[in-house]
Symmetry: C2
Amino acid sequence: MPRAGLTPDRVVDAAISLVDDRGLDALTLAAVAERCGVAAPSLYKHVSNLADLRTLVGVRVLAEMTDRLAAAAMGRSGPDAVGSVMRAYRDYAVAHPARYAAMPVDPLHQPEYAAAGQRLLDVMRAALRPWRLSDAQMVHTMRAARVITHGFASLESAGGFGLPEDLDESYELLIQMYLTSLPLTHAAQES
Amino acid sequence: MPRAGLTPDRVVDAAISLVDDRGLDALTLAAVAERCGVAAPSLYKHVSNLADLRTLVGVRVLAEMTDRLAAAAMGRSGPDAVGSVMRAYRDYAVAHPARYAAMPVDPLHQPEYAAAGQRLLDVMRAALRPWRLSDAQMVHTMRAARVITHGFASLESAGGFGLPEDLDESYELLIQMYLTSLPLTHAAQES
DNA sequence: GCTAGAAAGCTAATACACGTAGCCAGATCA
DNA sequence: TGATCTGGCTACGTGTATTAGCTTTCTAGC
């Protein structure tokens, strides 16, 4: 009967450690409750339901990754910043594959995620600022970065590449391909 | 008491139509059974369990997509063939988002998928043949194609892009970026 | 310090889902 | 025709999400 002292945040903590340990599919209220030392229905005092918990986990992961990307861009500019952000993206996904799988792919379309998703985009947008792209160019350029980073990270973190060898090189080649495709303006001279 | 005349293939048919209609998460044995006009346990006469059914769906989808890609490459060569295969990949994923989500990301690591997965890779490898890449180059080049196609297709089919506008153009720019990155050898003169 | 009430835990019960066991009828084949 | 195999069924056990309603603990105000 002593209280466990749960809060929504602590429930999310438990959920994330569970996901890290046993994969995204193991994220069940029963398992989270056990990890919290509490009966399953008690979780409903802190979280609306399983869907809500999943959302909270997604928001947490999105925010955490954004922090990493922002840190990776800090103190860098131009191609250096862009490459650094792209590497940090991959690093996070490979270091925490199950968390990466918990990240929503369409954050901007769901209000719960919108703020965190916008912040992540802003990090990349800032890194691309030196190129002084038009709005339309910026849209295509951001999309291309997202395609490459998400494509590579989701494949690698899910074990999608047949051979583990030379993955670093494959990714560096993609980053070079991407940087090379950027228009040769202001930023290109900075590097 | 009249027999329903089920076979594993017909069960997979029902599963796929269910996935098309109601999404991958709706793929449950109960729902498939209802669609087949049969009680749930009867499905076990044709399919080992839910995991097995999921695998069979994945194999079917993988094979279906491979057929599309092969058809897209037919009668083309060089950049034309590569671009055509990449467009066909996206087209399939967007036309059948739930099926695309059912496709395994690591087919080569699971024996059930290996044959179908290998066949898909062969289509792309054939399209890249004119460049006469070394083995190591071929690995990186195939990976890059996979990253771009899967990255774009998975994001678009999951509603991951904020704005629906200009997606065709974004994809064409990526294809151009990719083709431009290929070494200027034999094939480049054919186009 | 006492007490009212909110907050946080619990048990019990419902609704589904997967999966197993074992029964029965219809098809097949000697 | 009759034996056997196959494909259906019902009944059951387990696990999960979720709701309802009870009880205990903490906290605020007097």
